[in-house]
């Protein structure tokens, strides 16, 4: 705040430099082979660097889910914005998509045979790690909420609803958000 740059971050919040924000998101974008980019972001930003609390991250991810677009850049925009205002959001957006873009164009232009066995095998290995990463992430995010029977019930029912019925995001939200609004209000009272 002393720099007078108008960033909205309160003084008790970590205030990483734009370079640090771009560095973290850029490094994740460049290395998230096989998927799991959002999970990698949570691991770096919440677990390692503690730029955000667990509940803040879940809140931002929730908003990203109901807004259009791929989740990783959306989450990066919101985290960057929270840490450093508009410049942070731009740094987050750019860094979360440009390295992936450069690597994609590079491998497309060298006319890589995507179906080469070694490459397919490497990607399968990376994707398996992405499953482990995403699952570890889901476990860590769910742990603090296990105390609430109502919340755990909602988590399980929503997961089964989506898996069994292949329900769309909008149908799932339309059905379960009102239920959750009522159920969690009772829990709070």
């Amino acid at each position: 705040m002393s720099t007078g740059d108008g960033a909205p971050a309160p003084p008790d919040r970590p205030h990483p430099s734009l370079l640090a924000i771009a560095g973290v998101f850029g490094y994740i974008s460049a290395t998230s082979f096989g998927g799991g980019q959002t999970a990698a972001i949570r691991r770096e930003v919440v677990r390692k660097r503690k730029w955000l609390s667990e509940s803040e991250f879940l809140e931002l991810l929730s908003i990203a889910q109901i807004l259009p677009g791929a989740n990783p850049p959306s989450v990066a925009v919101m985290i960057g914005s929270r840490l450093r205002g508009a410049p942070g959001a731009i740094a987050g957006l750019g860094a979360s998509v440009i390295p992936g873009f450069v690597i994609l164009m590079a491998i497309a232009l060298v006319a890589l045979n995507v179906h080469a066995p070694a490459l397919t095998g490497a990607l399968r290995g990376c994707a398996a790690v992405a499953v482990g990463l995403t699952c570890a992430n889901a476990i860590e995010m769910t742990m603090p909420r296990l105390r609430s029977v109502i919340e755990v019930t909602i988590v399980v029912v929503v997961a089964l609803f989506v898996l069994v019925l292949h329900a769309s995001l909008w149908l799932t939200l339309a059905i379960f958000l009102p239920i959750a609004l009522v159920a969690t209000r009772k829990a709070a009272a």
Binding site: L58, I66, S74, G125, A136
Partner: protein, 172 residues
């Protein structure tokens, strides 16, 4: 002219693509293959495979469609159009959300949304696992990676790299 249409198609995708990449890709196919005939379905499948292969969001494959339509400039235009409009919407929404701080409805909404989104995340884990943890070795890799990431502060990128090398030799 082509560039403007390219920008428009991907900007609309960026703004109406609710539900993340898995919802955007089928709509992208409908637009660029079925409606505009910019590329064939086989090309789309190849671009999708490349998009999965490269790190970062699969939606980045829009750049390959742009390249096929209008070369390097087309790639840049499609890439910018598929991420920037959505990014601006997210930024404005985040700003609005920040300004609601202290409003009891904001707290209630966030509290209700959290378990629903966690349910969606778990469904995502199961879907991902069905496709990617499908053989003894990939199941093993997923479990070992998950356990290591829970127990240690090891870098996830190193695990991805290691699994890529293991996979290149054994998962053919």
């Amino acid at each position: 002219m082509n560039l403007a249409r390219l920008a428009l198609v991907f900007a609309v995708l960026s703004l109406l693509g609710f539900g993340g990449g898995s919802a955007i890709i089928p709509q992208m196919h409908a637009d660029v293959v079925d409606h505009y005939h910019w590329i064939t379905s086989a090309e789309f499948a190849r671009f999708f495979a490349l998009g999965k292969l490269a790190p970062g969001p699969t939606t980045t494959m829009a750049a390959l469609v742009g390249y096929a339509v209008a070369g390097a400039l087309g790639a840049l235009v499609a890439f910018a159009a598929v991420f920037i409009p959505g990014g601006i919407v997210v930024f404005v929404a985040a700003h609005f959300w920040e300004r609601l701080r202290g409003n009891p409805w904001r707290e209630r909404f966030a509290r209700a949304l959290a378990p629903v989104v966690l349910g969606l995340i778990w469904a995502g884990v199961a879907t991902l696992a069905r496709g990617a943890a499908d053989a003894p070795l990939t199941i093993g890799l997923a479990i070992v990676a998950g356990a290591l990431l829970l127990r240690t502060n090891w870098n996830q990128s190193l695990l991805v790299l290691a699994a890529g090398i293991i996979g290149a030799f054994t998962l053919r």
